[in-house]
Symmetry: C2
Subunit: 362 residues, 2 copies
Amino acid sequence: MTVAELETPALLIDLDIMEANLARMAEYAGAHGLRLRPHTKTHKIPELGARQMALGAAGLTVAKTTEAEVMVRSGTKDLLIAYPVLGRKKLDRLMKVAGETRVTVALDSEYAARELSGAAQKAGREIAVLAEFDAGLGRVGVKPEEVVGLARVVSSLPSLKFDGITFYPGHIKQWDSAGEVAFQELGKLLKKVCGESRAAGLEPRIVSGGSTPTWFRSHELPELNEIRPGTYIFNDRNTMKSGACTLDQCAASMLVTVVSTAVEGQVIIDGGSKTFSSDLCVGGGVGHGCIPEAPGSVFRRMNEEHGYVDIAGTETAFEIGQRLRVIPNHICVAMNLHENVFGIRGDQVEKCWRVEGRGKLQ
Amino acid sequence: MTVAELETPALLIDLDIMEANLARMAEYAGAHGLRLRPHTKTHKIPELGARQMALGAAGLTVAKTTEAEVMVRSGTKDLLIAYPVLGRKKLDRLMKVAGETRVTVALDSEYAARELSGAAQKAGREIAVLAEFDAGLGRVGVKPEEVVGLARVVSSLPSLKFDGITFYPGHIKQWDSAGEVAFQELGKLLKKVCGESRAAGLEPRIVSGGSTPTWFRSHELPELNEIRPGTYIFNDRNTMKSGACTLDQCAASMLVTVVSTAVEGQVIIDGGSKTFSSDLCVGGGVGHGCIPEAPGSVFRRMNEEHGYVDIAGTETAFEIGQRLRVIPNHICVAMNLHENVFGIRGDQVEKCWRVEGRGKLQ
């Protein structure tokens, strides 16, 4: 099938770019002796998880137990659930997954540790645990000075194995001066947390962090030995803005059709918040995506099925029925809206993947 | 099953409230002699479309051909695709649907009309057409003075039947003074457009408009004879803000669990942009939803799987593992993220619906 034969809106993945992105990260991790445990919430496709493993990843990361059930089909021998697992049904599911692969859970409370320990004991499984601390995002994670206490609780509980420390540097989104300062602070914090843990006799075998915006500077943090980037497989407009990729490293684009030119200075495309998601541009930038073939155009607004593209500032001519490709602001949430996505090489559609892990809220 | 047995996040529909919402709209439409063709993009569930028909709806509305293929299972004898249908495959699908039920398409260009006519001719079907004009939103729709021209084109094309005029008053979101002025303008515009159409010998059998924020004032527009509200079946925080419903008329809520209390003055819930969508509050209000059981709390930020609830301003106490219900900003986009949703009465889960029309982008 050719790209021209696809209906719109369609999420396209340029396979050559994706492969180059995967190879670049694998090489970087290898060159710096970093374990790579990619976050698969970006793609939610077991075949792509398997590809990441084949390129040398040490394991895979998921956000929830329902994603774990899907991603275990990748054949990975190591799965990190980077989220506290609460509730009996979720814990039951997790224990089933733990029968198929080694499972690690990141958590930040004694409550979550005790629940996990109880379920693991009952199931006769050992679960590895990473103690999560707040590196500056202010989301989850204990205070740095509380890591040792949490690690002690984990170590003391039956059927749990304290396996190290984790954090998510989501507060570093751009490499401006604030980003640089935050990165330097992170280095100091990691040194302190790891030092205190070791002094308490709790060796952090894994020190896991890293996001897509920070991936290429991970080797500057000597304590870090594992990274978990997700978005890098495809990249998106926000990753470009962060400085962690260029336009020609963006593998994902939305193929859309111009459906109306009735309002002057504007065209309407057949994708809105149910196609792209309504995620804004990180750092307060304008628009919901960029259209490289129409420089100066602004994807200014959206409703559920309508995208409003302001064309006053572009030389490009538009007509009804014309097709465009849009780089989304945030590929992880866009991917989550599509039942199927298409792997392309040039004009050829070589792959149709079902996004198997999407919508698995229950 | 009881609500307590559900995993989180779970989208709950209070069946008594939903039934009351459906009845209220049916009564209003009946009392004022308005055809009701509810927009099913809100629920995407054929069984709920059938319920709307059973309560007297004249037909149903969808946003795309893939939704039409799903919603025809409701048994409706009349389906409006409120979106121009472009592209051979979409037109082929539409013609198949037209073999099962009466189909109407809203469009705003000669291009879309000619494409539709060609496909209908080839398939041996007659498709009804509503000519769409821009009532002030600036999205799709020809200028009011161009309606007659578009209607003439439609009337002249084989296999199409000009059936009337349509618009979407999406620019009226709140009943402040700007909303009032816009509503008065809309009345004048409708009178003019309908008058011109009649004068040209093109009787608009259907004059279709209406949104959820404007529904209860539709009878003040004498030309209007059909309304297409969608959100009213569940309502949401934005509908409340518009003045078109009260809190006790909100049927949909997200059941979530507190997963972290590590950061002071804040709790993290297990729902973010992949559970609620990142749609903001209409009119610039703060937050991603409201938590009626914790007055003064603010659902301030979200990431993909994390919701940040600021609890500094509430008296309510929170602990890890606790469950909360959140009224989302925009139920249509939230529904679109869930594979299954749950109909409840009190503590009992009486229904589990698959959201059959979601993710049908291809």
